[in-house]
């Protein structure tokens, strides 16, 4: 590609959207004067078929090897025009867009002259970048058409069955002894009150019989390497001390084992043996010796006899799998409010959690289905159910756990149906949330059954030391006065919280978590099942509290998302990735690896003494490493230093002291600026913006270069901290980098307001406009003289700091 660039510029009228403000004729004329521009033309609608035809025609007729379209936001039509130039035989990466609509005509409708001037510079910047564009090839990686599902609750089970039915091989990894998850612990399910294990059990058996599914239970996920279509997964199978293939599940060993231990499956309310299964319907039905408790009497060995399924020598085994896609369905946990003295949980015998009630009311549970008090084994006659324990509480978990209202109503109905008039139920709630099909009707059923609903928040529970009854003090919001109730048993509907080990999982899988601690989806509306890591999907309560129907739907949804990869032979990857120049990398000489530590995706490895390498398929193209590299040894394709510096220089060629040079990240701040345009928020035409994929790409040198060239102000726009970054943590790296830089500027006497980092979301068009207004005001207050003087003082230092860039 050393041939001389021949650039064609196409200026779009966008009807009157652009042409109504900007002098498009003048702009086109101006474009013709720019270096390497050999053709320029105006179109009414460049994106429409005739407009695209003109581009294709011009490429052929004028032998164009670069195309610039001055029109709307690249976030809108870049893909359209890339396709268009490709159809004419040009590499799609030899195309560049100049956003003169959202960034000029729409936000400066009342100053057409300035808008036109600004548009000229926007085109100039685009042409400057276009001159340096290089051909890039979309990469294709092969796809392993097998899937790993982590977590065998109802969400994971649903996903596994769907994928297996589509014909894909599925590994279902479960850390517990059995699949089933929380659903297998429940007695009945709302709103139909069918028996939970009766509907889940057959599904569990289907999983175990499916020829395409392999259950790997009692095992932990150790590591995940690789990338979409090509993951390498290491798993440790923990020893059960039972040879799975030889165990018939007869339970004779359990009968002879002398050791009883609390059964976690029963919320530690009942016991299991040191050799046992957590519950009778366990899948796989393989016994486990809990070695910590076993006294090694070997009674079980005798009982097992000729089957010889017991092996005390068994050791943990590590296996490696190759899969193309991963579904995470690790579920949730419940909050146990030991730390909140309000409820007396753990202190008062007759205060239990809702999940404990599930185990009590279940016929196969520790009390054989009898709801009895721990203090005296008697049946309670007055049960108080308390909602929102830990949920919707700013001091604990701010979010609503979603399904507690429904299961509490279920518990009330169950107790009423079981004990009739013999039991009174008080249900204390804040708001009753019964959306979704059949839920409100179920709530009405509880009302009809005679459950007393009290709208109010509990202020204190105390125990009567004699009777062990509980006195509940609350504020009745309907009556507007405090009330006091006595109950024999209190059931707490506690918050649903991220499962144990979620942090570890998030590290191993490189999937970020939200402020609430649950896994975070790629987009709350449009990509609810995706994670930012391609090929890894989420299903069920691991992403946030969900009931069973919702978890099942997500399982099926995630299965179909995974199938979009698994069904392909190869997968395409956008080539805007980072590339290391091995000769420039200093890791061969000193222990560096800064890039490897900076990469949010773990896509770089920098083995000691060797140059760093980027695994192309894992690189998401944020460019954070490029900016972090102290030796300038990494380049981001399509966003190279040279290209960006050319844009900076083009933007600041004239009157730099009265301009704000901005670096805006594609996903938040650039989108916010677009929104300011589409919303027609007006702001001064002082800004010249350079789009980068992530604020993490903004190199210190870019800011230095801008001030060296005499910029009035510099702005770095990013996604909000800590979780909004599209590339997990590019903004965090940028923040640290820019804070250090600001300190240097302070020492050098730069007015602090001249360099600003702002977090603007895609929804904050108003904020963006405000920021530009404010910065412009500051710039005017400081005045050209002061700015120039500061710059002059700065100049020698900046020249020195940038000396190695001057190639």
């Amino acid at each position: 590609m050393s041939e001389e660039p021949r650039i064609g510029v196409f200026v779009c009228h966008c009807g009157l959207n652009i042409a109504g403000v900007i002098d498009v004729e003048e702009l086109t004329e101006y474009a013709r004067t720019l270096p390497n521009v050999v053709f320029a033309k105006r179109n009414r609608y460049t994106c429409a078929d005739p407009g695209q035809d003109e581009i294709r025609k011009a490429i052929k007729e004028h032998n164009l090897n670069r195309v610039v379209v001055a029109a709307c936001s690249p976030r809108m039509h870049e893909p359209t025009f890339r396709r268009c130039v490709a159809e004419a035989g040009l590499n799609p990466y030899l195309f560049e867009m100049a956003n003169i609509r959202e960034f000029s005509s729409w936000c400066h409708p009342n100053t057409p002259k300035e808008a036109t001037e600004k548009a000229k510079e926007i085109v100039k910047m685009a042409v400057a970048k276009a001159r340096l564009l290089r051909e890039l090839k979309t990469m294709e990686v092969p796809v392993t058409n097998r899937a790993l599902i982590v977590g065998g609750g109802i969400a994971g089970i649903s996903a596994a069955l769907d994928l297996a039915d589509m014909g894909f091989k599925v590994y279902l990894l479960e850390r517990g002894e059995s699949i089933g998850g929380h659903m297998a612990q429940l007695d009945k399910t709302f709103p139909t009150l069918d028996c939970s294990i009766c509907i889940e059990g057959p599904k569990m058996v289907d999983v175990s019989r499916h020829p395409n599914i392999e259950i790997i239970s009692f095992a932990d996920l150790l590591s995940v390497e690789g990338f979409v279509g090509n993951f390498k997964v290491r798993i440790r199978k923990n020893p059960r001390y039972i040879i799975a293939d030889d165990c018939t599940g007869c339970g004779e060993c359990r009968d002879v084992c002398p050791i009883e231990i609390p059964n976690e499956w029963d919320m530690n309310m009942g016991v299991r043996k040191a050799i046992s299964v957590p519950f009778d319907q366990a899948v796989p039905l393989v016994y486990t010796i809990l070695k910590d408790y076993c006294i090694e009497c070997y009674k079980c060995v005798d009982a097992c006899g000729a089957r010889q399924a017991i092996n005390f020598e068994q050791e943990a085994e590590e296996i490696e799998l190759e899969v193309g896609a991963i579904i995470v369905s690790t579920g949730y946990n419940i909050y146990e409010p030991y730390d909140d003295s309000l409820y007396g949980y753990g202190k008062y015998d007759n205060v239990i959690t809702a999940l404990e009630l599930e185990r009590l009311i279940l016929a196969a549970g520790p009390t054989g289905g009898k709801v009895v008090r721990a203090s005296d084994g008697k049946k309670p006659h007055r049960v108080a159910i308390i909602q929102c324990v830990g949920s919707r509480d700013v001091n604990k978990y701010e979010y609503c756990s979603g399904y507690c209202c429904m299961y509490s109503v279920k518990h009330a109905v169950q107790l009423k149906e079981k004990y009739g008039d013999d039991v009174e139920i008080y249900l204390l709630y804040m708001d009753m949330r019964t959306n979704f099909k059949g839920y409100e009707e179920f709530y009405q059923r509880a009302r009809k059954a005679g459950v007393t609903f009290i709208r109010g928040r509990v202020s204190k529970i105390i125990e009567d030391p004699e009777t062990k009854n509980l006195i509940i003090r609350a504020e009745d919001m309907t009556l507007g006065e405090p009330i006091e109730l006595e109950a024999d048993m209190v059931v707490l509907s506690t918050a649903s919280i991220p499962n144990e080990g979620t942090d570890e999982m998030s590290r191993v899988l490189n999937v970020s978590r939200g402020a609430d601690g649950f896994f975070m989806e790629s987009h709350p509306k449009l990509k609810p099942l995706d994670t930012p890591t391609d090929g890894i999907f989420l299903a069920g309560a691991c992403q946030g509290p969900k009931d069973i129907p919702y978890s099942v739907s997500q399982g099926s949804g995630a299965a179909s998302r995974a199938a979009t990869i698994l069904s392909k032979k190869t997968w395409e990857i956008e080539p805007i990735i980072a590339v290391v120049d091995p000769d420039a990398c200093r890791n061969t000489r000193v222990k560096c690896g800064i890039c490897a530590r900076g990469c949010p995706y773990g896509a770089i490895s920098a083995p000691e003494g060797e140059p760093a390498v980027v695994t192309a398929a894992m690189c998401h193209g944020c460019g954070t490493c490029v900016a972090e590299c102290p030796a300038d040894a990494i380049a981001q394709m399509h966003f190279t230093d040279a290209q960006i510096i050319a844009q900076i220089r083009a933007a600041l060629a004239e009157n730099p002291q009265s301009k704000i040079l901005a670096f805006l990240c594609n996903w938040c701040s650039y989108a916010g600026a677009d929104l300011a345009g589409t919303s027609r928020f007006e702001y001064p035409p002082t800004i010249r913006a350079i789009r980068v994929m992530c604020s993490g790409r903004v190199d210190r040198d870019f800011v230095l270069e801008a001030f060296r060239l005499g910029a009035g102000m510099v702005l770095v726009g990013a996604c909000h901290l800590p979780y909004d970054c599209h590339y997990i943590s590019g903004n965090v790296k940028m923040k640290a980098r820019m804070e250090a830089l600001a300190k240097i500027f302070e020492k050098l006497g730069l007015s602090p307001e001249r360099f600003r980092v702002e977090y603007v979301s895609a929804a904050e068009g108003v904020k963006f406009a405000e920021v530009i207004k404010e910065m412009t005001e500051h710039m005017e207050t400081l005045g050209e003289k002061r700015i120039k003087a500061e710059n002059e003082k700065l100049q020698p230092t900046l020249e020195r700091m940038l000396s190695r860039k001057k190639k």
Partner: protein
């Protein structure tokens, strides 16, 4: 109700409890019966029993070590109950004295062979009662209708009076003092623990008689004219309380060689036996009793110990 692990420590006893919504386990240590010998701690598979040496005050009798049971670690297997030679530990499930390792024959009980032929007893002899260092014997004289007779002298027909010797066998470590003090050869006791013990007085520090201070059996250790402690092996029950307090590494040697217990086939017992005696003694017992598969398993499990 969530699981509760509780502990109450009182002057005379320590109780730990595991309370589940549907079941309750309790273990009580009778501090007055405990001699601090450490046998329970040695066999506890969860290492839940901690032995604390009592601080020594110059010029005063040394106190036996105290034991402390960790309510977080204990899982109520109950093995410490039957292994305590002094019956100081009791395990209860839902209030019932129930030791599942005994029920399932995963752990044996001591065989305490104590035979009293009361026909040989003198009506007015209470020598055994006085001899028992643990005060486990009660001697009484009864009339034909079973009434206790206190005033024997004025009782008309002495030949129809009977001597009854009540021994609280569960607490008896079988030291044989009663047998040896009996003037009429009416009691036979077989030791339940066999072994050997040796004190090398030259190695004992000046004026030390710590072992003697803690020995629960009067006369098993004694101070002779040389101001040093010596052993009378006849009475020693090999509990090892002395060894626990002996300040010199090799002044006192104590080795158990065998334990008389109810027949058993259990790896847990083999392990306990190995800890209390030695690998050699344990294998001897194993060879004698085990079926092939269990023996193989045990041998494999022990292989790494050589």
């Amino acid at each position: 109700m969530p699981l509760k692990l509780l502990k109450t420590n009182m002057d005379k006893e320590q109780t730990i409890e595991r309370v589940l919504h549907a079941k309750r386990y309790a273990l009580t240590l009778d501090k007055e019966l405990c001699t601090g010998c450490g046998i329970c701690a040695a066999i506890c598979p969860r290492e839940a029993i901690e032995i604390k040496k009592s601080p020594k005050v110059e010029g005063e009798r040394v106190e036996p070590p105290t034991i402390n049971i960790d309510e977080q670690k204990c899982h109520y297997c109950g093995m410490c109950g039957p292994i305590c030679p002094f019956g100081a530990i009791e395990v209860k499930v839902d209030g019932e004295h129930l030791i599942s390792v005994l029920e399932s024959e995963s752990f044996p009980q001591f065989i305490r062979e104590i035979d009293v032929d009361t026909t040989k007893c003198d009506l007015d002899c209470v020598d055994c009662e006085e001899a028992c260092p643990l005060e486990l014997i009660k001697v009484r004289v009864t009339s034909p209708d079973g009434e206790e007779v206190r005033d024997i002298k004025s009782w008309p027909g002495k030949e129809n009076l009977k001597v009854v010797v009540d021994i609280d066998k569960n607490l008896c470590p079988c030291c044989r003092l009663c047998e040896l003090k009996c003037p009429d050869d009416a009691i036979r006791v077989r030791k339940m623990i066999q072994g050997f013990i040796k004190i090398t007085p030259e190695r004992c520090p000046e004026n030390c008689q710590d072992c003697l201070d803690v020995c629960p059996i009067t006369g098993a250790l004694y101070l002779s004219e040389d101001e040093k402690v010596h052993v009378n092996e006849l009475f020693c029950i090999y509990c090892g309380a002395c060894k626990m307090v002996c300040p010199e590494e090799d002044a006192l040697e104590l080795q158990r060689t065998s334990i008389r217990h109810t027949p058993i086939r259990s790896g847990a017992w083999n392990k306990a036996l190995e800890k209390l005696t030695s690998t050699k003694e344990m294998t001897k017992e194993l060879q004698a009793k085990s079926v092939k598969k269990v023996k193989e398993t045990v041998e494999k499990r022990l292989a790494w110990r050589g």
